[in-house]
Amino acid sequence: MLFEYAVVAGVLFGLFYAFLSIGLNLVFGVQRIVNLAHGDVIMIGGFASWELYYTYHISPLLSVVLVIPPTVLAGFIIYRLIDGPLSRAQDPEMLSLILFFGVSQILEALVTIFLGNNQRSIPDSSLVHGPVHFLGQSYPGVWWIVAGASIPMVGLVILYLYRTKLGTATRAIMADPIEAAAVGIDVRKVSAITFGVGLAITASVGAIAPFMIGGVDPSEGVNLTILAFAVIVIGSLGNIGGTVVGGLIFGVAFELAQLYLPSWSSLIPYVLLLAVLLFKPSGVLGKRVRSA
């Protein structure tokens, strides 16, 4: 009974975690940008959703879509600003790490200044009334709504990558940016679009994240970034499909730990991360391919 409950809860959370992490993987995959401000983008999506709900009575589910266009645009512009310095850098990964660490701190500080420190939450009733019964047990309705919203959103990202020309070009850049340039792909433009899409999908999950993580507050970013990193490393860095697997493994492991080893449950992300790094460094779905 309880085991089944934890597994179902883990799958629901796992889908949400996949949605939560996929943008980070997309942005990393394209130009090896380590977006340490990932969690802060989620946080901003959360505040946007909160504001839209309380000021304009817009359902957070609609906000999931509404936050996308402005973030794509913002991401496109930000990429154009950072592309130069990054492409000239000796070690672009390290530079991006430092750059986005700064962005993360600034975002957190700005939100704190303008919106204050308090945690805010959106009532569950804005999405669904009452629990959902499944296999004889009752689950919070919001879990199903959020997991249900995560499937099409993650699916859209995967469709975009695997069924559109732009997506195929994006994957070509992920595989090898220099060769992509050698076949005539406009790497700068496609990367800028992908960066925008990656940020947008991240802000988008922020709009419903408050229902799963107990609210939204300015300092939540760091923990969410670490969580998302754990998920994409478990799944395999740069492998978008792996993110779904990583999310599900993470979600189920976490819920089982809450059931059987509650005091240790907060260690789960790190234990899984270390285990993957030590025993299967390329991630659960990563293939060992020779690099020459």
């Binding site: 020309k165 005539g184 792909i185 391919v289």
Partner: protein, 232 residues
């Protein structure tokens, strides 16, 4: 006017002069070889022509247009094809997707010409390029570059990772490719094989062209034979 004209090209990488005063021309009917020792600057030259690295001085023209300041995508669009010295394929994409990506620059997804040249690829179109044999992978790399319908194809290391038999088999497709009115620039370690394929060859040493001529002319020069055929 030749398809490609390179005049007084110099390139520095990380403050070090790698190419110095390179000038040559290639037309769509030529098969040209570039030979030289490891580190002589052959790959750098192709990368500079393709626009993957910045040139320091000099001029590169395609069909009489100066492309020195244009990005690689603009040069590929001007009918330049490139099989680079890397994997040559996107491993995580299928063969069909590799070819599609190759054709994107012209908005052309017609793979008929590639299948005609490399019939082996027909049966593995939906396989991941990373799972192909080395020979198939090289064919896919050629196919990918030909998808943009270049009138000049630059090949870095034809025999990369191939057994001598596979390398010979691949080399036999060069005349077929040339038959589509495609000029070829071939960079190759194996000088014997290069000289058997090309109309003309340039020898690079220390970043400069030291000698050039037809295979016959080169082979009649004792110092060339001594250095590149009998040497290490």
């Amino acid at each position: 006017m030749s398809k490609l004209v390179v005049e007084e090209l110099s390139v520095s990488l990380e403050g070090k002069r790698v190419l110095e005063g390179i000038s040559f021309e290639v037309d769509t009917v030529d098969i040209v070889g570039i030979v030289g020792a490891n580190g002589a600057g052959k790959t750098t030259l192709l990368n500079a022509v393709a626009g993957l690295i910045q040139t320091t001085t000099g001029k590169i023209s395609l069909d009489g247009v100066d492309v020195s300041q244009l990005g690689p995508e603009e040069r590929i669009r001007r009918s330049l094809g490139y099989v680079p010295d890397g994997p040559g394929v996107f491993r995580s994409l299928t063969v069909r997707e590799n070819l599609m990506v190759g054709g994107m620059v012209r908005g052309d997804e017609d793979i008929e010409m590639v299948i005609t040249l490399f019939p082996d690829l027909k049966n593995c179109l939906s396989m991941l390029a990373g799972s192909l044999s080395a020979y198939q992978r090289r064919q896919c790399a050629f196919g990918r570059a030909l998808m943009s319908r270049p009138s000049l194809l630059m090949i870095d290391e034809l025999s990369l990772g191939l057994s001598p038999i596979s390398a010979d088999a691949l080399a036999r497709t060069l005349p077929d490719i040339a038959a589509y009115q495609v000029g070829i620039i071939l960079v190759e370690q194996d000088i014997d094989r290069t000289l058997s394929l090309v109309d003309r060859a340039y020898v690079i040493e220390g970043g400069s062209i030291v000698v050039d001529g037809s295979p016959g002319e080169l082979l009649s020069q004792g110092s060339f034979v001594e250095k590149y055929l009998w040497g290490s």
